[in-house]
């Protein structure tokens, strides 16, 4: 993780979206992506990505949890006793995740049925805990919100990309819309491998390959 734990020196009047702050949002999108570079949060990336619709809901949920857990932990960062900080982080994350789950159950029951288990598993998503430990505990609230947004978006675009390929090859749809039928290709042969979790590994592997050959990133 390249993002620093220590607070960067801040000038007197810094713009709301200064260069330093923009980096919080843009870094995790590519150079420091939580999935492809840090290889965190893989389990949910594999599990929910068979179709794009639940993937989008999952992505929004993770963004919500990341932003607000970062904000809350950052607000409390000077009051949290160091010895129980992990428990405190867990409690906050678990509360937010339960909130998301309850809201989905009330207003998007179909999504709740498909995603329920995986929404619950956001609690153990390493990205969330990772950001709290590495960033929110040592940075101001606004910066933490931006950092949460950045990591959330970085996670989201990867799982949406994986879901796009898995859904189009696995079931011939995009967001549940039968693209191949619409193009007049009636008997598009779907690939069963893509709907199984193995498909996600393969697609993810290709994305990491393409990304690393572009950025030149090498594991040390």
């Amino acid at each position: 993780m390249s993002t620093e734990t220590a607070e960067a020196p801040i000038k007197e009047k810094e713009g709301l979206l200064s260069k330093r702050r923009k980096k919080f949002v843009t870094d995790p999108l590519n150079d420091d992506n939580p999935i492809t570079v840090q290889v965190l949060g893989i389990c949910s990336a594999l599990a929910v990505t068979t179709q794009m619709k639940p993937t989008l809901v999952m992505a929004l949920s993770v963004i919500f949890v990341l932003i607000f857990s970062n904000l809350i932990i950052s607000l409390m960062r000077n009051a949290i006793p160091t010895r129980v900080r992990i428990i405190v982080q867990l409690a906050v994350v678990a509360t937010l995740v339960t909130l998301v789950n309850e809201v989905l159950k009330a207003y998007a029951f179909d999504m709740y049925k498909t995603l329920s288990v995986f929404i619950g598993l956001i609690i153990t998503n390493c990205i969330v805990m990772g950001r709290l430990e590495a960033f929110a505990l040592g940075n101001k609230p606004y910066d933490s919100v931006l950092d949460g947004l950045g990591s959330g978006l970085g996670y989201s675009w990867i799982i949406l990309a994986v879901a796009f390929f898995r859904e189009i090859w696995g079931s011939g749809n995009v967001f549940g819309y039968p693209v191949f039928e619409a193009m007049g290709i009636e008997n598009f042969a779907t690939n069963g491998l893509m709907v199984s979790p193995v498909g996600a590994f393969i697609v993810l592997g290709f994305i990491i390959w393409v990304q690393r050959s572009k950025t030149g990133y090498v594991e040390q």
Partner: protein
């Protein structure tokens, strides 16, 4: 920063109270909406067992679905012996829609309650029967619509909790469920043999006959779960049909022959 033990304890207590209070507040506020969502979902699944209703469900607003449900569904609850159950042990009325099939599934079959949803609309009649069982990974359940002859399946709707997407989870897809339409659950000797989903896909209809449906490639274990579920639950409803439906039909026949 090293804090004292009492600080840690007080901090934890306050955090617990605040977060706990927040969650219970949310659950209070959202409770009614969630109950409505669950209720709507159950009624959608019940209506979804009838193919003509299922087609219309997709374009219907929630209120319209609830209204349609109250118009066409007449529900009763029966026990294992086929007696109608109207009140529970404490004397409270039993509502078929509120009978939790999963909770009942955990009891021995003799102690379970079995809701029956009678569908009447536009001259069509059918008995919609809830079923419950185990798939490959987790629970599966469904509703089977039986024609008034009590032999022919008019339609089914299945759902599951954790079957593999694209394999076992296909029991929720329309094309798999449509395979059950028109199948018969009794053989020529009048024995209940249910309907079995075979192993392997794309079996020609001629090879299947009236008691078998085409399978799902790669999901034979889920299919076995569906088969066991149907076999079990269809047999549980037989005593109800014997006591309340076939008997009445017979006594009516006797009366007409006397005249």
């Amino acid at each position: 920063m090293q804090q004292s033990n009492s600080y840690i304890i007080i901090f934890s207590v306050i955090l617990t109270i605040v977060l706990g209070g927040l969650l219970s507040g949310v659950s209070q506020v959202l409770g009614p909406a969630q109950k409505k969502a669950v209720d709507l979902d159950t009624k959608k699944q019940i209506l979804g067992a009838i193919p003509t209703e299922k087609e219309r469900l997709a374009d219907m607003e929630p209120e319209a679905i609830l209204e349609r449900y109250s118009q066409v569904i007449n529900s009763t609850v029966t026990d294992y012996q086929g007696n109608i159950v109207e009140t529970d042990a404490d004397g409270n009325p039993v509502v078929a829609e509120n009978v939790e099939i999963e909770k009942n599934y955990k009891k021995p079959a003799e102690e379970r309650l079995f809701p029956i949803f009678k569908y009447t609309a536009d001259g069509n009649e059918s008995y919609i029967l809830p079923t419950f069982g185990a798939g490959l990974w987790d629970a599966i359940w469904g509703f089977v619509a039986l024609a008034p002859d009590l032999e022919t399946i008019q339609g089914v709707s299945f759902d599951h909790r954790g079957e593999t997407p694209g394999l076992g989870a296909r029991i929720t897809s329309d094309d798999v469920q449509a395979r059950y339409q028109g199948k018969e659950i009794y053989n020529n000797q009048g024995e209940l043999i249910s309907v079995t989903m075979v192993k392997g896909e794309n079996t020609p209809e001629t090879a299947l006959g009236p008691h078998k449906v085409d399978g799902m490639a790669g999901a034979t274990l889920t299919a076995n779960g569906v088969n066991a579920m149907l076999q079990n639950y269809l047999s549980y409803y037989q005593s109800y049909f014997d006591k309340n439906v076939r008997n009445q039909a017979m006594s009516m026949n006797v009366e007409t022959s006397k005249q």
